[in-house]
Symmetry: C2
Subunit: 225 residues, 2 copies
Amino acid sequence: MPVGTIEVRERAMSRSNKLAHDVRRRLEDGRTIAFNIISAPGAGKTLLLERTLQALNSEISVAVVTGDSYTQHDAHRLARYTGRLVQAVIAHDGCHLDASQIEQALHAIDLDYTDLLLIENVGNLVCPMAWDLGETAKVVLYSVTEGDDKPVKYPNVFRRADYAIFTKVDLLPHLEFDLGRAVGHARDLNPNLGIFYTSARTGEGMDEWFDFLRHRVNEVHIPLP
Amino acid sequence: MPVGTIEVRERAMSRSNKLAHDVRRRLEDGRTIAFNIISAPGAGKTLLLERTLQALNSEISVAVVTGDSYTQHDAHRLARYTGRLVQAVIAHDGCHLDASQIEQALHAIDLDYTDLLLIENVGNLVCPMAWDLGETAKVVLYSVTEGDDKPVKYPNVFRRADYAIFTKVDLLPHLEFDLGRAVGHARDLNPNLGIFYTSARTGEGMDEWFDFLRHRVNEVHIPLP
């Protein structure tokens, strides 16, 4: 990679970091919890969001920002469950969201009426980790079909994530996937990682995720003394 | 994305394309078939390569170039099956191989003694498609656990690939994956796409892939009239 690319990337990142700071302050002012949801393509981000909206939409005010490289496919899927969805425009071949796209999306989202902002990042396990969007926490989805060596291969992902959601755990009986080994690797890299074990298809473990979101939202809304 | 990034990227790509042209000529001179193997993280590239080396190493002279973002994990896995492996150095957070890395790798690979060069690209479904490495053909791996809407979401991948290998088909009975729908989408985008259906774990469909590689290698080695 020529040096020029790195310099331009650093300028873009520095600009994004400044905007992330603004976004974070606006989220805090609005008492909105925001999760930046990151995974490889096909790990189940959109399905997790669909199920989350179905479960929580009636009790929590949820808004969604979704980033897709080429199409509006995910946005169409999610629009069936919420009217509070913003499609972030990703440049062709772009591999991550940046804070300017979240800042743009916030023009369409009234944070005073939003408890929870779910940001579906671009399907990519590497680039999105480096870009702060102003989120409250980073959540990585890890499909058990991807092999139990993922934390070893992508250590930065597990170091920088606040939460990991194992997905498709209903398939474990059919896979050579050592869950203890995968969790051990992940915890070695990040002892504070919060971990969920889910199957959006069977519903296994989904209540723990929903309860966690309820809890995080309610924490923020405890009246100040 | 600031305009500067795009300009620098285009210069890097233009330089890579020139090198790809050289690589392609060297491969043709050496009568070496080269496949650029691309997929999302966890679709099974390394396992497919392990099985391929096990099956063909004794009859075909295979060399491997593997690109990993952070670690030498895949290189270590593959080194158990071949002494003809080159680890490409990927810049931190790099999301694809480029032709300069292949050109570098060829310093360590004598193409006169190589029938088949297998290039394991970085685990990423978007960036690698745009970069010509000088390969004979692009092969995309598509795990059936990733959902049957992948061709719709990543049309460029299926347009630009020469072959698609469905992986983990042993899991189909446990998934809501409509294989006919996925194949239909892929063929709509690319009627000439060659398709394989495999499970490296059960061995299903692997013989078709091995026979295809034998056939492609032998085609090249037919003596000129």
